[in-house]
Each structure stands twice: as structure tokens, then as C-alpha cells.
């Protein structure tokens, strides 16, 4: 199983599972539009990852090594929003990783944790899709998109007093 393999190699690969620096973006960086992650050539080597979509359907796609999960989703017409365009300033690209994959990743930066605090359906292995880059060892993994339940905003909801 890929998870066993990952666990065995977790300590070895941890330094290589890179993520983008999530320091606060400068105005100049914003002006120069992001596209959810680094530029990776179309002929870059790929691995296979699966997105478990909110409606429970699975979508298996080819992910280029070095791309962010957000970029992979967008290239493959998966409904993962990236409202801030991949600069770690919103929580719309929230993804839930398998625990062993999460453990093998570098720790998220403080700014990413701050954004995750606002994410709907936060779990212990949640990350932002714009901050986690595809690496070879992730071949075959499945990441879960959080489910938005239909009764989230039922009528009769009482706003909390201030």
C-alpha cells in the first residue's frame, strides 16, 4: 500500500516535500498575478492523485511534480476555489490529506494555520491546497475536499450575540 510505503519513507522524504513560503504577500507580488502556485512546465513528470469531491465522486488526475494541489485542481476542472489566487490569504482551497501524508509534510507556517482556523470543516490533517506541492512520493494518494452540508444555513439559525 502506498500509505505504508509513505510511512516508511516519511522521515526520508519529509525535507523534500516542499511547500511555498507563506510569508505575507507584498503588494507587488499581488499585482503580478499568481496562478495558485509555481510555474511548472507542461511536460514535467506527473504522478496520479485522486480528489474525493464533496459529492463523494472521485476524480483521478495527472499531477505535475512541483505544482500545488490548487493548480492541479484548476487544471483539471475540479471545483476547488482559490479566492486569493494561491497566496495563503483565504481558506477556500482547504483539502484534507491522509494522516500519514500530512505527517510527512513540513509543518504549515503560522499564516497557513491562521487561515485554516477559518476553514469550514477543519480536521487534524487539513492543509491549504495552494501551500502543498506535488512530489513524487505522493503518487496514488487521495485528498478529500471538505463537504458543505446542505443544512449548514438552515432558516431559523440564531446569530450569536456579541
Amino acid at each position: 500500500m502506498f500509505s505504508n510505503r509513505l510511512r516508511q519513507t516519511a522521515s526520508r522524504i519529509a525535507p523534500r516535500l516542499h511547500q511555498k513560503s507563506s510569508s505575507s504577500p507584498s503588494a507587488a507580488a499581488i499585482a503580478k498575478r499568481w496562478h495558485g502556485g509555481p510555474h511548472v512546465a507542461a511536460d514535467a513528470p506527473t504522478i496520479t492523485v485522486t480528489f474525493l469531491q464533496p459529492d463523494e465522486t472521485k476524480k483521478e488526475v495527472a499531477a505535475r511534480i512541483g505544482e500545488s494541489f490548487l493548480q492541479v485542481a484548476h487544471r483539471n476542472d475540479i471545483d476547488l476555489e482559490g479566492a486569493c489566487e494561491g497566496v495563503c490569504a483565504c481558506s477556500t482551497c482547504h483539502l484534507i490529506f491522509p494522516m500519514d501524508v500530512y505527517d510527512a509534510l513540513e509543518y504549515p507556517e503560522e499564516d497557513e494555520e491562521d487561515m485554516l482556523d477559518m476553514a469550514f470543516g477543519l480536521t487534524e490533517s487539513s492543509r491549504l491546497g495552494c501551500q502543498v506541492l506535488i512530489s513524487e512520493e505522493m503518487d496514488g494518494i487521495m485528498v478529500e475536499m471538505p463537504k458543505a452540508t446542505r443544512n449548514f444555513y438552515v432558516d431559523g439559525h440564531v446569530p450569536q450575540p456579541h
Binding site: 505575507s24 504577500p25 503588494a27 507587488a28 499581488i30 499585482a31 498575478r33 499568481w34 476542472d77 471545483d79 476555489e81 482559490g82 479566492a83 486569493c84 489566487e85 497566496v87 490569504a89 483565504c90 481558506s91 477556500t92 503560522e110 499564516d111 494555520e113 491562521d114 487561515m115 482556523d117 477559518m118 469550514f120 477543519l122 458543505a148 446542505r150 449548514f152 444555513y153 438552515v154 432558516d155 439559525h157 446569530p159 450569536q160 450575540p161 456579541h162
Partner: protein, 531 residues
């Protein structure tokens, strides 16, 4: 390759040619390939209006466009302003450009009138059209099969429970925010802010009432230096007034404790990272807020745990700083932001009979169970000097004419079930609601994604079992109706002209400033209609 239309052609053709100058049936492109696979060529030609072009309106439009059932539909987005995007433009703080980036995504949803043949179905923008005044809701529902109300919260929760709330120098945070963001209706705020700040000779004192992110935005903008604000899109009219001439002390106060505060950690953390301002948190107020129930609240949610740590660290830093600077005035920074808890403002006070001089607050304590603690007065009073008070206790939706029967005054929303307004008249288009007007003013931009999908699901469900109504005798398109009324809408190209002028180097302070907003409606219209 073009999408073939396999539906009652006589109906469509007559509508398109007689009533709809815009091309509604667009050629097929790769983007809609999935739609073709699903045989969406038989999708009906619905006409949908979205009232309001803020995040909720745009996300509703976005998810409608994504639906195969909408492949042949016309979706128009109306806004009372000549510019789209609501609070993305007029609410999000100017020093949060990364949050505003979502407008790129929204840009891609709108019809470029000169570029119709790229094949995507897109939204049409009708700016400068006020529903309820320029055109009634009923007229709109005669034109469209579906009307989605997404005009958000046009007002604030009343704060006249605080005595003397009409004194000069008291504004709602909404007014202040709209003003610094260049909203065309809020130019009048400037002279009031200027006058209030000038009254603070030696030291300017501001009280911000409320513990949400808007309150922290106001405090942060007032505490930033000119250098920090210069590269933002803060309106020049505001920058020149906010620019600090004197030392400034900003107190952000709220009735409950730090565990109940509504602001999020990103905004709180920013207060610890200001160039020339100290962030002051009192250890004793954090201790008072740590009731047994609060401890349960902290342990139940990760965001609370992390906020607890941030504020505890800030309080420790405050003590350390105090020890260092007590004897040394040169160490003092230009501004101080005091984040205060368990203080209930009871009255605004004046010394000269007309303008604010201080705010009287009552110390509170928390009572009740975890998750529902409330603040109870202790009788102990404290006064905080202030020349300017910004009340930030929440936005509130209003009923535009024609929606009164569904309006819930207490919550400031339109009553709905998953976005569907039930009981709206049968012979008119369906009525739906999305965003803050649907659920109340809370959440971040991303919250509107879930919310919009919910409303879109309700719309699609209802449309599945019906078909577009054959236009009644005398039916007129939105373009014809507005023309008859003498209303000149700003279309997408018009907005792009405003946008281009705002971004032109001659208007901007520096290359880094994204745009210098045009802050008057007349000038915006002039830019929009220039050729």
C-alpha cells in the same frame, strides 16, 4: 464547431430577435465540452437576474454558469453602483490586497461586450441600476424567470442603546470603512473624521466599539503609518486625513471576553506586526475572561486555542514593553492599539455640548454556560477619552421595496429556505436570496461559496420541473425597460473604462498603488460613458 439549439426555436428566436439584443446562444468551446457531453444543447433559455454584484452575487452567478442547465441562459447582474464587487471593493481593507484578488476570478465571469464570440456563457453587468427605485422588483420579476437578491447589508445594527449616540465624532464603522475605501456615497464622512481627530490636541484618541474583524480593520488602518498605507488602494481623500500628525491611541472595546471575540486570528496577529504601533493587551482582562465556561470553549475549538495563545503572548509582551518604556519616552511609538475586553459602553459624553469627549463603559463579567455566555454589568465604571468613536457591532440587511413581507427585522434578512423565498407570487419569476441577506452578516468571502451553491441548488431544483414562461404580450427586455425609464446602465465595458482610469499611472501615488479610486458617482459615470 457550434452548439446546436434543439428547443422550441420559434420561441427562442422570437425572444432573441425582438427582445434581446445580446447574443444569448453562444458557440461551443472547449470550456463547455462537459456541457455538450451531457447533451446540454437542450437546456432551456432561462433569464436570471442577480441583484447585487458583491461576493454572494458573483459566486451565485459563477455556480449558475457552471451548471449544464444554464448553458443557454442569460444571467444579468444588477448593481446600484457603477462598479461591481460590493464589499470586495468597498469593505475589504485596502491593506488586504490579497483578499481583493478574488476580483480576478469574478472578472472572468463577465461578458466582454466586444468579445462575445469566445463562446463562453458569461454574466452581463448592469451597474448604476437601483432595484426598488429605478426599476421595481415586480418589474424585474416580469422580465426574468428567476430573481436572486444578493444585495447584502445596506445598513448597520442600531446603536442608539448607547446614550448620546448622535454626538459629533460618532460614526458607524461601516461609514468609516466605506469612506476610506472610496465609496461614492460616503464623501461626507471625511470632514467629520478630520474635525474629530483635530480636536485631539497632543494625542488623538479613538474608541472602536465591537470585536469583529471590521473593528480590527478600523483600528489597524488608524494605527498604520503613511508609508504602510501608501502602497494600498486607500483613497487619497482618506489617506491625507488619517495620516498621523500626533500620537494616536486606539481602544477597541467589547462587552465579552477574548474567548468570545468574533475577530479571527489573522486580523489579531496583524496588530502585533505594525511598523510604528504598540499592541496592548491587559493580562487582568484575559484572566477575568477565563471562566470555567470559557476554558471549555477554548478546549473545544482549535481556533480558540490558538487565539488564546496569541493574546496571552501579547499580554506578556505588553508587560515587558511597559517595564522597558516607563522611563524612556523616546521608545514610545506613534500609535497604541489597546484591545480591551469585558467593557460595555453605556454612554457617549461631551464636554462642549456637541462633540464627543469620552466614552463611559461598565465593567462586565461573564455568566452562563459554555457557548452561550453573556456579559453582565458589575457596576464598576470606566471612562475612556475619545474624540472619535467608531461603532462596529454588525451590519444589517434592509428590505428593498417589494420585499417587506419576507423581511425579518430582528436578523436583518429575508426569510428563506435554502435561498428560496417561499410564497412569492406564482405568476412572476421565482425569488431567491443569497449571501448576507440570506444568512446574516457573518463569515468571510469564502463562506459565500457554500452559501451560493446552496441557493443555486434550490434554483436548479425548482427549474427542473418547469420551463421558461412564454413572454406575455408586451414583454420587454431589461435593456428596453431601462431605456424607457431613461436609465443608462453601466455595462461591463463601461466598468472597464472606470477600472482603466483608476489604474492609470497619472492617478496613482506610486507604481505600487493598485489603483486610485474614483470617489464620485458623476466622475465614475463620466469615465464609464467616455469612448
Amino acid at each position: 464547431m457550434y452548439r446546436r439549439i434543439q428547443q422550441p426555436l420559434h420561441l427562442l428566436a422570437s425572444r432573441i430577435s425582438r427582445h434581446c439584443p445580446r447574443q444569448r446562444i453562444r458557440p461551443f468551446t472547449s470550456r463547455s465540452r462537459r456541457a455538450l457531453d451531457d447533451d446540454s444543447s437542450s437546456a432551456a433559455a432561462w433569464k436570471i437576474a442577480i441583484v447585487g454584484s458583491g461576493p454572494s452575487g458573483c459566486y451565485t452567478g459563477k455556480y449558475l454558469l457552471k451548471s449544464d442547465a444554464m448553458a443557454n441562459s442569460q444571467i444579468d447582474v444588477l448593481d446600484r453602483l457603477p462598479t461591481p464587487y460590493g464589499l470586495v471593493r468597498n469593505g475589504v481593507a485596502p491593506d488586504h490586497p490579497e483578499v481583493k484578488s478574488v476580483h480576478h476570478d469574478f472578472d472572468s465571469l463577465f461578458m466582454k461586450d466586444g468579445n462575445e464570440d469566445n463562446g463562453q456563457n458569461l454574466l452581463n453587468f448592469y451597474g448604476n441600476v437601483t432595484v426598488g427605485t429605478d426599476i421595481s422588483l415586480e418589474e424585474l420579476r416580469e422580465i426574468y424567470d428567476v430573481v436572486v437578491l444578493a444585495y447584502g447589508c445596506e445598513s448597520v445594527r442600531p446603536y442608539d442603546f448607547i446614550q448620546n449616540s448622535k454626538l459629533e465624532g460618532i460614526l458607524s464603522a461601516r461609514e468609516f470603512v466605506s469612506w476610506y475605501n472610496g465609496h461614492v456615497d460616503y464623501e461626507w464622512v471625511g470632514p467629520l473624521v478630520e474635525k474629530a481627530l483635530k480636536r485631539g490636541s497632543g494625542q488623538q484618541q479613538v474608541v472602536v466599539i465591537g470585536h469583529g474583524n471590521v473593528a480590527l480593520d478600523c483600528a489597524r488602518i488608524l494605527a498604520k503609518t503613511r508609508e504602510e498605507l501608501d502602497p494600498t488602494d486607500i483613497a487619497a481623500r482618506s489617506l491625507n486625513i488619517i495620516d498621523q500628525q500626533n500620537r494616536r491611541e486606539i481602544s477597541v472595546i467589547g462587552r465579552r471576553g477574548h474567548v468570545q471575540a468574533a475577530f479571527t486570528i489573522k486580523e489579531a496577529r496583524e496588530l502585533t506586526r505594525l511598523d510604528d504601533a504598540n499592541f496592548v493587551v491587559r493580562k487582568d482582562e484575559l484572566d477575568m475572561g477565563r471562566t470555567e465556561a470559557s476554558k471549555q470553549e477554548i478546549n473545544a475549538a482549535r481556533p480558540r486555542k490558538r487565539m488564546e495563545k496569541l493574546l496571552t503572548d501579547a499580554a506578556a509582551a505588553t508587560s515587558a514593553m511597559k517595564n522597558n518604556t516607563d522611563d524612556d519616552d523616546s521608545q514610545k511609538k506613534a500609535a497604541e492599539v489597546h484591545l480591551r475586553f469585558l467593557l460595555n459602553p453605556t454612554s457617549f459624553e461631551t464636554k462642549d455640548g456637541s462633540s464627543l469627549s469620552h466614552v463611559t463603559c461598565e465593567r462586565t463579567r461573564l455568566v452562563g454556560d459554555a457557548g452561550s455566555q453573556s456579559a453582565e454589568g458589575t457596576g464598576e465604571m470606566e471612562t475612556i477619552e475619545a474624540q472619535l468613536a467608531l461603532v462596529s457591532i454588525g451590519y444589517k440587511g434592509v428590505a428593498i421595496p417589494g420585499t417587506e413581507e419576507w423581511y425579518d427585522d430582528k436578523r436583518g434578512i429575508l426569510k428563506n429556505t435554502h435561498g428560496l423565498i417561499e410564497g412569492s407570487k406564482e405568476d412572476l419569476g421565482g425569488l431567491y436570496v443569497s449571501g448576507w441577506l440570506k444568512r446574516g452578516p457573518s463569515g468571510i468571502i469564502g463562506t459565500n461559496i457554500t452559501d451560493a451553491k446552496d441557493t443555486v441548488a434550490s434554483i436548479l431544483h425548482a427549474l427542473k420541473s418547469s420551463s421558461p414562461v412564454d413572454p406575455k404580450e408586451g414583454w420587454k427586455s431589461i435593456d428596453e425597460t431601462l431605456k424607457e425609464k431613461g436609465i443608462n446602465p453601466v455595462n461591463w465595458d463601461g466598468y472597464r473604462r472606470i477600472d482603466a482610469e483608476e489604474r492609470s499611472p497619472s492617478r496613482k501615488r506610486s507604481e505600487l498603488q493598485p489603483r486610485e479610486k474614483i470617489c464620485s458617482r458623476e466622475e465614475q459615470l463620466k469615465a464609464a460613458f467616455s469612448s
